[in-house]
């Protein structure tokens, strides 16, 4: 069974259609790279997965459960969406860390607030909070920032901030972690440290969707590539095939060719 299945997503902003019927599915543990030129709808698709945009039509299944159906308005209430979006994590292009909190507090804020909603929270308050902090420290170790635990975001480099943002998303253990051009706001040398984190996550078989302009990274790390062109999926297949010389999609070949120049 697919961990994620998207059927016929469409989305228009005013009279401008941005997504024109997107279908794809993902297996658990897969790393999917979404590539394509600016304005092809990559980011909009990712935002639809995270309920930051509401598709005009279409359905989405996670682990076989219907999570979103554009026909059914009961799926779009704030409270319903809040619970559902926890299947997904999202790492933003410009990090969006909370500036007034330390690195550790950034990681713990959401898990602690969510824990308070659990019926057994009062009885095990201390254990639950300690467990959340332990988990957060573990994640900081994974992204190599244990020593920055009590720093504020403004004291970190862009690459460090993005690694914190990744750890913050992981702290809620989402089924699928999405990245929206995670290295676009970074210098080349800082890009490397973020990509290394993504590599290590891919090795652990975390299910990831990465919108990226880093073709070298996509070809190396992604299991599969989704090439978007003018709001449709123009190519969906193994990354060896996508970046190979015998790629069947002419538009993808010309896109990759234009970047290589």
């Amino acid at each position: 069974m697919s961990i994620l299945e998207v059927r016929n997503f469409t989305k228009s902003f005013g009279d401008t259609p941005v997504l024109k019927g997107i279908d794809f599915s993902m297996e658990k543990g897969e790393t999917l790279a979404i590539i394509g030129s600016s304005g092809s709808g990559k980011t909009t698709l990712l935002r639809c997965l995270n309920f930051l945009e509401t598709p005009d039509t279409g359905k989405m299944y996670v682990n076989g459960d219907l999570l979103f159906d554009a026909e059914d308005k009961s799926h779009t209430s704030d409270e319903a969406i809040r619970k559902k979006r926890l299947h997904f994590g999202l790492v933003f292009q410009n990090f969006n860390l909370f500036p007034q909190y330390t690195v550790l507090e950034n990681l713990c804020l959401a898990p602690k607030l969510l824990a308070k909603e659990r019926p057994d929270f009062k009885a095990h308050k201390k254990e639950v909070l300690a467990e959340i902090e332990e988990n957060a420290k573990d994640l900081l170790l994974q992204v190599g920032l244990s020593d920055k635990m009590s720093a504020y975001p403004c004291q970190l480099s862009g690459g460090q901030q993005q690694r914190v943002a990744i750890a913050r998303a992981l702290a809620l253990s989402p089924d699928i972690l999405c990245f929206d051009e995670p290295t676009s706001a970074l210098d080349p040398e800082l890009t490397v440290e973020v990509l290394n984190v993504l590599r290590s996550l891919a090795k652990k078989h975390l299910t990831m969707v990465v919108v990226t302009h880093e073709m070298a990274f996509a070809s190396e790390v992604a299991d599969r590539v989704l090439f978007m062109d003018e709001g449709v999926v123009a190519f969906d297949g193994k990354s060896e095939l996508a970046f190979g010389a015998d790629c069947p999609c002419a538009r993808l070949r010309s896109f990759l060719g234009s970047i290589a120049k």
């Binding site: 930051l52 809040r82 860390l97 500036p99 007034q100 607030l113 969510l114 403004c154």
Partner: protein, 236 residues
Amino acid sequence: MNFLDITLDLLSGFGISCLLFCLTLLFAIPLGLLFSFCTMSKHRFIKAPAKVFVWIIRGIPLMLFIFVIYYLPGLIGGASVNIFNTIDREITVAMGASQLMWHGRFLAVLIAFVINYACYFSEIFRGGIESISKGQYEAGQVLGLTKSQIFFKVVLKQVVKRIVPSMSNEIITLVKDTALANAIAIPEIIKCAKDMASTQALIWPIFYTAAFYLLFVGGLTLLFGFVEKKLSYFRG
């Protein structure tokens, strides 16, 4: 009257000024927040009246608005008596005081101040809230926070940091605006000094009142500097 008597007399007047100042802040800040949400509402029928209301209140002099609040309830009710004066008379009788008490009129001034300042604050709050990047809200959303959690746990402190300079301006103006209460004969500090001028032919206490304002505003300035410094640990 010696210097000490005059100082004590003015101090009692300044106590009323300070009371008006504190109560205005206490009520105008939450009300201003409510107004700012109304002016940012997606619903036309909330947003438009709120905008018009803020325009009217900010558009008329505070002194005029004090008169409106003071006289209007009586006019609307068709009663020939002013309810605020009635309150004053009843308190005077109840306390057996020799002079007419001022609490009813103080209430009228307080209402005018609270509404007036809530409107000014609402625009400052709106500016602060709208200056927070959409990314902060979205980051909160994808982490599963509710709307109110996003506002109180993520956005509020950043807004406070950004509005401290303009709020300090407005709050310092409020200190001095309390002098307008003497328009309906509330014995705040300038009224006290004026009374001394007329009853005892003493002019200098009027100038002396400046010392009270300067000390108070000086204290506030230090306080705002402290708050700004407290919030300077993050950039946002």
